[in-house]
Protein backbone atom coordinates (compact mmCIF):
# COMPACT_ATOMS: atom_id res chain seq x y z
CA UNK A 1 0.00 0.00 0.00
CA UNK A 2 0.97 3.64 -0.32
CA UNK A 3 1.33 6.12 2.53
CA UNK A 4 -1.37 8.76 2.97
CA UNK A 5 -0.38 12.35 2.10
CA UNK A 6 1.70 14.29 4.63
CA UNK A 7 4.10 17.22 4.60
CA UNK A 8 7.83 16.82 5.31
CA UNK A 9 10.36 19.11 6.88
CA UNK A 10 13.97 18.50 7.87
CA UNK A 11 15.27 19.71 11.24
CA UNK A 12 18.91 20.87 11.01
CA UNK A 13 19.50 21.11 14.75
CA UNK A 14 17.82 19.99 17.96
CA UNK A 15 16.56 23.55 18.55
CA UNK A 16 15.10 23.45 15.06
CA UNK A 17 13.29 20.21 15.96
CA UNK A 18 11.79 21.76 19.14
CA UNK A 19 10.58 24.76 17.18
CA UNK A 20 8.96 22.54 14.56
CA UNK A 21 7.33 20.36 17.23
CA UNK A 22 6.01 23.51 18.90
CA UNK A 23 4.65 24.83 15.62
CA UNK A 24 3.00 21.64 14.37
CA UNK A 25 1.83 20.15 17.67
CA UNK A 26 0.05 16.80 17.85
CA UNK A 27 -0.16 16.41 14.05
CA UNK A 28 3.62 16.04 13.78
CA UNK A 29 5.66 12.85 13.99
CA UNK A 30 9.44 12.59 14.32
CA UNK A 31 11.18 10.61 11.57
CA UNK A 32 14.52 9.00 12.53
CA UNK A 33 15.56 5.83 10.64
CA UNK A 34 11.97 5.23 9.57
CA UNK A 35 12.16 1.43 9.73
CA UNK A 36 8.99 1.18 11.82
CA UNK A 37 7.36 4.51 10.96
CA UNK A 38 7.49 4.26 7.16
CA UNK A 39 6.18 0.68 7.29
CA UNK A 40 3.30 1.96 9.47
CA UNK A 41 2.67 4.84 7.05
CA UNK A 42 2.66 2.50 4.03
CA UNK A 43 0.16 0.28 5.85
CA UNK A 44 -1.86 3.42 6.75
CA UNK A 45 -1.66 2.58 10.44
CA UNK A 46 -0.43 6.12 11.02
CA UNK A 47 -1.49 9.37 9.33
CA UNK A 48 0.46 12.38 10.61
CA UNK A 49 0.01 15.84 9.05
CA UNK A 50 3.74 16.34 8.89
CA UNK A 51 6.95 14.38 9.38
CA UNK A 52 9.81 16.19 11.08
CA UNK A 53 12.96 14.47 9.83
CA UNK A 54 15.51 14.54 12.66
CA UNK A 55 17.81 11.98 11.04
CA UNK A 56 20.52 14.50 10.12
CA UNK A 57 20.89 16.28 13.44
CA UNK A 58 24.61 15.85 14.17
CA UNK A 59 24.38 16.18 17.97
CA UNK A 60 22.18 13.04 18.15
CA UNK A 61 24.82 10.77 16.61
CA UNK A 62 27.77 8.79 17.84
CA UNK A 63 29.15 6.68 20.68
CA UNK A 64 31.18 8.22 23.52
CA UNK A 65 32.89 6.41 26.40
CA UNK A 66 33.61 8.54 29.47
CA UNK A 67 33.47 8.36 33.27
CA UNK A 68 32.30 4.76 33.50
CA UNK A 69 29.45 5.39 31.09
CA UNK A 70 28.83 4.78 27.43
CA UNK A 71 26.61 7.37 25.80
CA UNK A 72 24.98 6.37 22.52
CA UNK A 73 23.28 9.10 20.50
CA UNK A 74 19.68 8.34 19.59
CA UNK A 75 20.38 8.37 15.85
CA UNK A 76 23.16 5.77 16.02
CA UNK A 77 22.11 2.91 13.75
CA UNK A 78 21.83 -0.73 14.75
CA UNK A 79 24.66 -1.50 12.29
CA UNK A 80 26.94 1.14 13.84
CA UNK A 81 26.37 -0.41 17.27
CA UNK A 82 26.94 -3.90 15.82
CA UNK A 83 30.30 -2.85 14.33
CA UNK A 84 31.57 -0.63 17.17
CA UNK A 85 34.73 -1.76 18.96
CA UNK A 86 33.78 0.49 21.93
CA UNK A 87 30.43 -1.27 22.28
CA UNK A 88 32.01 -4.73 22.02
CA UNK A 89 34.47 -3.76 24.77
CA UNK A 90 32.24 -1.78 27.15
CA UNK A 91 28.60 -2.86 26.53
CA UNK A 92 28.94 -6.32 24.97
CA UNK A 93 25.26 -7.16 25.55
CA UNK A 94 24.41 -4.66 22.79
CA UNK A 95 26.90 -6.26 20.42
CA UNK A 96 25.34 -9.64 21.21
CA UNK A 97 21.79 -8.37 20.58
CA UNK A 98 22.40 -6.30 17.43
CA UNK A 99 22.66 -9.18 14.92
CA UNK A 100 19.18 -10.34 16.00
CA UNK A 101 17.56 -7.08 14.92
CA UNK A 102 15.72 -7.60 11.62
CA UNK A 103 18.03 -7.84 8.58
CA UNK A 104 21.26 -6.17 7.46
CA UNK A 105 19.43 -3.70 5.19
CA UNK A 106 17.20 -2.61 8.07
CA UNK A 107 20.05 -2.43 10.59
CA UNK A 108 21.81 0.02 8.26
CA UNK A 109 18.92 2.49 8.57
CA UNK A 110 17.11 1.82 11.86
CA UNK A 111 18.27 3.68 14.97
CA UNK A 112 18.65 2.99 18.70
CA UNK A 113 16.44 5.95 19.64
CA UNK A 114 13.82 5.09 17.06
CA UNK A 115 13.50 1.54 18.38
CA UNK A 116 13.25 2.73 21.99
CA UNK A 117 10.72 5.49 21.25
CA UNK A 118 8.61 3.07 19.19
CA UNK A 119 8.50 0.67 22.18
CA UNK A 120 7.53 -2.50 20.36
CA UNK A 121 7.38 -5.12 23.14
CA UNK A 122 9.26 -7.64 20.98
CA UNK A 123 12.12 -5.23 20.16
CA UNK A 124 15.67 -6.00 21.29
CA UNK A 125 17.00 -2.61 22.46
CA UNK A 126 14.28 -1.87 25.05
CA UNK A 127 14.96 -5.20 26.80
CA UNK A 128 18.73 -4.53 26.72
CA UNK A 129 18.17 -1.07 28.24
CA UNK A 130 16.12 -2.56 31.07
CA UNK A 131 18.62 -5.38 31.69
CA UNK A 132 21.51 -2.91 31.88
CA UNK A 133 19.61 -0.33 33.96
CA UNK A 134 20.25 2.26 31.25
CA UNK A 135 19.23 5.88 31.55
CA UNK A 136 17.36 7.54 28.72
CA UNK A 137 18.17 11.18 28.02
CA UNK A 138 15.13 13.20 26.95
CA UNK A 139 15.20 16.84 25.91
CA UNK A 140 12.77 19.70 25.43
CA UNK A 141 13.40 23.33 24.59
CA UNK A 142 13.47 24.01 28.35
CA UNK A 143 16.16 21.46 29.21
CA UNK A 144 16.72 17.76 29.58
CA UNK A 145 15.69 15.00 31.97
CA UNK A 146 16.77 11.45 32.58
CA UNK A 147 14.52 8.42 32.99
CA UNK A 148 15.50 4.92 33.99
CA UNK A 149 14.63 2.44 31.24
CA UNK A 150 12.44 0.42 33.60
CA UNK A 151 10.25 3.53 34.18
CA UNK A 152 10.11 4.56 30.53
CA UNK A 153 8.11 1.79 28.86
CA UNK A 154 4.39 2.11 29.68
CA UNK A 155 2.69 -0.31 27.31
CA UNK A 156 2.53 -1.53 23.71
CA UNK A 157 3.99 1.39 21.69
CA UNK A 158 3.48 3.60 24.77
CA UNK A 159 6.29 5.40 26.61
CA UNK A 160 6.97 8.20 29.06
CA UNK A 161 7.89 10.49 26.12
CA UNK A 162 5.68 13.59 25.72
CA UNK A 163 4.83 15.05 22.33
CA UNK A 164 7.13 18.07 22.80
CA UNK A 165 10.12 15.91 23.77
CA UNK A 166 12.93 14.26 21.84
CA UNK A 167 14.85 11.19 23.02
CA UNK A 168 18.43 12.32 22.45
CA UNK A 169 20.42 9.33 23.64
CA UNK A 170 21.00 6.55 26.12
CA UNK A 171 23.59 6.21 28.89
CA UNK A 172 24.73 2.66 29.58
CA UNK A 173 26.99 1.77 32.50
CA UNK A 174 30.34 0.60 31.12
CA UNK A 175 30.87 -3.05 31.95
CA UNK A 176 33.35 -4.00 34.64
CA UNK A 177 35.94 -6.66 33.88
CA UNK A 178 33.98 -9.14 36.02
CA UNK A 179 30.61 -8.69 34.25
CA UNK A 180 29.11 -11.16 31.79
CA UNK A 181 26.13 -10.94 29.47
CA UNK A 182 24.07 -13.01 27.05
CA UNK A 183 21.31 -12.29 24.56
CA UNK A 184 19.03 -15.02 23.22
CA UNK A 185 15.79 -14.96 21.27
CA UNK A 186 13.59 -17.36 19.36
CA UNK A 187 12.13 -16.53 15.96
CA UNK A 188 10.36 -18.43 13.19
CA UNK A 189 12.96 -17.13 10.70
CA UNK A 190 16.17 -15.25 11.42
CA UNK A 191 15.34 -11.55 11.60
CA UNK A 192 11.61 -11.97 12.24
CA UNK A 193 9.97 -10.44 15.28
CA UNK A 194 10.99 -12.45 18.32
CA UNK A 195 8.49 -14.91 19.77
CA UNK A 196 10.28 -14.38 23.07
CA UNK A 197 13.79 -13.37 24.07
CA UNK A 198 16.01 -12.57 27.04
CA UNK A 199 18.75 -10.06 27.78
CA UNK A 200 20.87 -11.32 30.68
CA UNK A 201 23.59 -9.61 32.69
CA UNK A 202 25.48 -10.57 35.85
CA UNK A 203 28.65 -10.22 37.85
CA UNK A 204 30.84 -13.30 37.90
CA UNK A 205 33.42 -13.92 40.62
CA UNK A 206 35.29 -17.22 40.95
CA UNK A 207 32.63 -19.00 38.91
CA UNK A 208 29.62 -17.73 40.91
CA UNK A 209 27.03 -15.34 39.47
CA UNK A 210 25.69 -12.44 41.51
CA UNK A 211 23.44 -9.51 40.68
CA UNK A 212 21.83 -11.47 37.84
CA UNK A 213 19.50 -9.27 35.78
CA UNK A 214 17.05 -10.87 33.36
CA UNK A 215 14.93 -8.73 31.03
CA UNK A 216 12.49 -10.32 28.59
CA UNK A 217 11.13 -9.22 25.23
CA UNK A 218 7.93 -10.56 23.70
CA UNK A 219 6.75 -11.56 27.16
CA UNK A 220 4.25 -8.82 27.98
CA UNK A 221 3.22 -5.31 26.98
CA UNK A 222 6.64 -3.87 27.81
CA UNK A 223 10.12 -5.29 28.29
CA UNK A 224 9.93 -7.07 31.65
CA UNK A 225 12.55 -7.19 34.36
CA UNK A 226 11.90 -10.60 35.92
CA UNK A 227 12.19 -9.75 39.61
CA UNK A 228 11.03 -13.14 40.98
CA UNK A 229 13.40 -15.08 38.74
CA UNK A 230 16.22 -12.66 39.62
CA UNK A 231 15.54 -13.17 43.34
CA UNK A 232 15.72 -16.95 42.85
CA UNK A 233 19.02 -16.54 41.01
CA UNK A 234 20.37 -14.24 43.74
CA UNK A 235 19.44 -16.84 46.38
CA UNK A 236 21.64 -19.32 44.53
CA UNK A 237 18.74 -21.55 43.45
CA UNK A 238 19.31 -23.94 40.52
CA UNK A 239 18.44 -22.77 37.00
CA UNK A 240 15.24 -24.84 36.92
CA UNK A 241 13.93 -22.92 39.97
CA UNK A 242 14.86 -19.58 38.38
CA UNK A 243 12.97 -20.58 35.24
CA UNK A 244 9.99 -21.79 37.28
CA UNK A 245 9.78 -18.42 39.07
CA UNK A 246 9.13 -16.71 35.73
CA UNK A 247 5.42 -17.54 35.97
CA UNK A 248 5.11 -14.67 38.47
CA UNK A 249 6.99 -12.23 36.25
CA UNK A 250 5.92 -12.68 32.63
CA UNK A 251 2.58 -11.94 30.99
CA UNK A 252 3.03 -13.14 27.41
CA UNK A 253 0.13 -12.60 25.02
CA UNK A 254 -0.73 -15.30 22.50
CA UNK A 255 -0.15 -14.48 18.81
CA UNK A 256 -1.25 -16.22 15.60
CA UNK A 257 1.28 -19.00 16.02
CA UNK A 258 2.17 -19.32 19.69
CA UNK A 259 -0.01 -19.64 22.79
CA UNK A 260 0.79 -17.80 26.02
CA UNK A 261 1.65 -21.11 27.71
CA UNK A 262 4.10 -22.01 24.93
CA UNK A 263 5.74 -18.57 25.17
CA UNK A 264 6.19 -19.00 28.93
CA UNK A 265 7.70 -22.43 28.29
CA UNK A 266 10.06 -21.00 25.65
CA UNK A 267 11.06 -18.17 28.00
CA UNK A 268 12.00 -20.80 30.58
CA UNK A 269 14.05 -22.73 28.04
CA UNK A 270 15.88 -19.51 27.07
CA UNK A 271 16.47 -18.70 30.75
CA UNK A 272 18.25 -22.00 31.26
CA UNK A 273 20.40 -21.35 28.21
CA UNK A 274 21.13 -17.76 29.26
CA UNK A 275 22.22 -18.78 32.79
CA UNK A 276 24.45 -21.48 31.29
CA UNK A 277 25.96 -18.93 28.92
CA UNK A 278 26.64 -16.48 31.78
CA UNK A 279 28.28 -19.20 33.86
CA UNK A 280 30.35 -20.60 30.97
Amino acid sequence: MKAPPFAYVRARTLDDAFELLDKHGEGAKLLAGGQSLIAALNLRLSSPDILIDISRIPELKGIAVAGGKVHIGALTTHAEIERSADIAAHVPLLAQAAPHIAHAAIRNAGTLGGSIATADPSAEWPACCVALDAELVIATKAGSRRVKARDFFKGVYATDLRSDEVLTGVDFPARGADHVSAFLELTLRRGDYAIVGVAAFAKKASGALTGVRLAYLGAGETPILALSAMAAAEAGRPAADVAAALAADLRPAPDLYTTAATKLHLARVLTGRALAALAA
Partner: protein, 158 residues
Protein backbone atom coordinates in the same frame (compact mmCIF):
# COMPACT_ATOMS: atom_id res chain seq x y z
CA UNK B 1 -2.47 18.40 -3.46
CA UNK B 2 0.38 16.28 -2.18
CA UNK B 3 3.05 18.39 -0.50
CA UNK B 4 6.26 18.13 -2.54
CA UNK B 5 9.90 18.78 -1.69
CA UNK B 6 12.71 19.69 -4.09
CA UNK B 7 15.25 16.89 -3.83
CA UNK B 8 18.64 16.25 -5.40
CA UNK B 9 20.28 12.85 -5.34
CA UNK B 10 22.90 10.96 -7.32
CA UNK B 11 21.37 7.89 -8.97
CA UNK B 12 23.82 5.44 -10.54
CA UNK B 13 26.37 8.23 -10.85
CA UNK B 14 24.10 10.91 -12.34
CA UNK B 15 22.68 13.88 -10.43
CA UNK B 16 18.88 14.03 -10.44
CA UNK B 17 16.79 16.95 -9.18
CA UNK B 18 13.00 16.69 -8.91
CA UNK B 19 10.09 17.97 -6.87
CA UNK B 20 8.95 14.80 -5.12
CA UNK B 21 5.75 14.14 -3.15
CA UNK B 22 6.78 13.73 0.51
CA UNK B 23 4.86 10.47 0.83
CA UNK B 24 6.50 8.73 -2.15
CA UNK B 25 8.98 6.03 -1.16
CA UNK B 26 12.29 5.75 -2.95
CA UNK B 27 11.40 2.66 -4.99
CA UNK B 28 8.28 4.23 -6.48
CA UNK B 29 10.34 7.30 -7.35
CA UNK B 30 13.06 5.22 -9.03
CA UNK B 31 10.54 3.12 -10.93
CA UNK B 32 7.89 5.63 -11.88
CA UNK B 33 9.79 8.88 -12.24
CA UNK B 34 13.19 7.61 -13.42
CA UNK B 35 12.04 4.44 -15.23
CA UNK B 36 14.46 2.26 -13.24
CA UNK B 37 12.14 -0.72 -12.92
CA UNK B 38 14.78 -3.24 -11.82
CA UNK B 39 14.10 -2.49 -8.15
CA UNK B 40 10.84 -4.18 -7.30
CA UNK B 41 7.95 -3.00 -5.16
CA UNK B 42 6.91 -6.05 -3.17
CA UNK B 43 5.44 -5.95 0.31
CA UNK B 44 6.06 -2.23 0.95
CA UNK B 45 6.61 -2.80 4.66
CA UNK B 46 10.17 -4.01 4.80
CA UNK B 47 9.64 -7.75 4.90
CA UNK B 48 10.34 -9.16 1.42
CA UNK B 49 13.62 -7.52 0.34
CA UNK B 50 12.65 -7.16 -3.36
CA UNK B 51 13.38 -3.40 -3.08
CA UNK B 52 16.94 -3.77 -1.71
CA UNK B 53 19.17 -0.98 -3.08
CA UNK B 54 22.33 0.81 -1.91
CA UNK B 55 22.32 4.28 -0.39
CA UNK B 56 25.73 5.81 0.37
CA UNK B 57 27.27 2.39 -0.17
CA UNK B 58 25.13 0.45 2.30
CA UNK B 59 22.13 -1.75 1.49
CA UNK B 60 18.72 -0.49 2.61
CA UNK B 61 15.06 -1.20 2.01
CA UNK B 62 13.95 1.25 -0.67
CA UNK B 63 10.32 0.94 0.44
CA UNK B 64 11.23 2.08 3.98
CA UNK B 65 12.94 5.25 2.83
CA UNK B 66 11.08 8.27 1.50
CA UNK B 67 12.49 9.57 -1.77
CA UNK B 68 12.88 13.02 -0.15
CA UNK B 69 15.16 11.45 2.48
CA UNK B 70 17.63 10.59 -0.30
CA UNK B 71 18.40 14.29 -0.75
CA UNK B 72 22.18 14.65 -1.08
CA UNK B 73 22.68 10.89 -1.02
CA UNK B 74 24.21 8.45 -3.50
CA UNK B 75 21.73 5.83 -4.67
CA UNK B 76 22.82 2.68 -6.55
CA UNK B 77 20.28 0.37 -8.15
CA UNK B 78 20.52 -2.96 -9.92
CA UNK B 79 20.78 -1.08 -13.23
CA UNK B 80 23.90 0.83 -12.18
CA UNK B 81 25.52 -2.09 -10.40
CA UNK B 82 24.92 -4.34 -13.44
CA UNK B 83 26.25 -1.80 -15.94
CA UNK B 84 29.40 -1.19 -13.90
CA UNK B 85 30.14 -4.93 -13.90
CA UNK B 86 30.27 -5.04 -10.10
CA UNK B 87 27.69 -7.83 -9.98
CA UNK B 88 28.92 -9.77 -13.02
CA UNK B 89 30.45 -12.63 -11.06
CA UNK B 90 27.32 -13.13 -8.96
CA UNK B 91 25.09 -12.86 -12.03
CA UNK B 92 27.08 -15.57 -13.79
CA UNK B 93 26.90 -17.79 -10.72
CA UNK B 94 23.12 -17.28 -10.39
CA UNK B 95 22.75 -18.25 -14.06
CA UNK B 96 25.02 -21.27 -13.75
CA UNK B 97 23.31 -22.52 -10.59
CA UNK B 98 19.78 -21.83 -11.88
CA UNK B 99 19.28 -19.53 -8.87
CA UNK B 100 16.26 -17.74 -10.31
CA UNK B 101 13.00 -18.71 -11.90
CA UNK B 102 10.52 -15.83 -12.12
CA UNK B 103 13.24 -13.29 -11.29
CA UNK B 104 11.15 -10.99 -9.09
CA UNK B 105 13.46 -11.33 -6.06
CA UNK B 106 16.68 -11.46 -8.09
CA UNK B 107 17.73 -7.77 -8.16
CA UNK B 108 17.31 -7.50 -4.37
CA UNK B 109 18.92 -10.89 -3.87
CA UNK B 110 21.99 -9.91 -5.95
CA UNK B 111 22.48 -6.61 -4.12
CA UNK B 112 22.09 -8.30 -0.72
CA UNK B 113 24.53 -11.03 -1.83
CA UNK B 114 27.08 -8.44 -3.03
CA UNK B 115 26.93 -6.86 0.46
CA UNK B 116 28.14 -10.20 1.80
CA UNK B 117 30.89 -10.44 -0.84
CA UNK B 118 32.10 -6.96 0.18
CA UNK B 119 31.73 -7.10 3.96
CA UNK B 120 31.71 -10.75 5.03
CA UNK B 121 33.69 -12.64 2.39
CA UNK B 122 34.42 -15.52 4.77
CA UNK B 123 30.72 -16.26 5.34
CA UNK B 124 29.74 -19.88 5.88
CA UNK B 125 26.67 -21.44 4.29
CA UNK B 126 24.77 -20.79 7.52
CA UNK B 127 25.85 -17.14 7.53
CA UNK B 128 24.81 -16.76 3.88
CA UNK B 129 21.36 -18.02 4.85
CA UNK B 130 21.20 -15.64 7.82
CA UNK B 131 22.19 -12.70 5.64
CA UNK B 132 19.53 -13.55 3.04
CA UNK B 133 16.78 -14.20 5.59
CA UNK B 134 15.31 -10.79 4.74
CA UNK B 135 15.04 -11.54 1.02
CA UNK B 136 12.12 -13.75 0.07
CA UNK B 137 12.15 -16.06 -2.95
CA UNK B 138 8.95 -17.97 -3.70
CA UNK B 139 10.37 -20.08 -6.56
CA UNK B 140 13.73 -21.63 -5.89
CA UNK B 141 13.60 -22.87 -2.31
CA UNK B 142 16.83 -20.87 -1.75
CA UNK B 143 19.17 -23.86 -2.11
CA UNK B 144 20.46 -22.81 -5.53
CA UNK B 145 20.79 -19.15 -4.45
CA UNK B 146 22.96 -20.17 -1.49
CA UNK B 147 24.95 -22.44 -3.83
CA UNK B 148 25.60 -19.55 -6.24
CA UNK B 149 26.76 -17.18 -3.52
CA UNK B 150 28.89 -19.89 -1.94
CA UNK B 151 30.57 -20.42 -5.34
CA UNK B 152 31.45 -16.74 -5.64
CA UNK B 153 32.80 -16.48 -2.08
CA UNK B 154 34.85 -19.65 -2.57
CA UNK B 155 36.27 -18.42 -5.90
CA UNK B 156 37.23 -15.12 -4.26
CA UNK B 157 39.10 -16.93 -1.48
CA UNK B 158 41.30 -18.85 -3.93
Amino acid sequence: MDPTVETTMTVNGSAVTRRIPARQHLIDFLREDLGLTGSHTGCEHGVCGACTIRVDGRIVRGCLMLAVQADGRRVDTIEGLSDSGELAELQRAFHRRNALQCGFCTPGMLIAAQDLVLHQPGATREQIREHLSGNYCRCTGYQSIVDAIEDVLAARRK
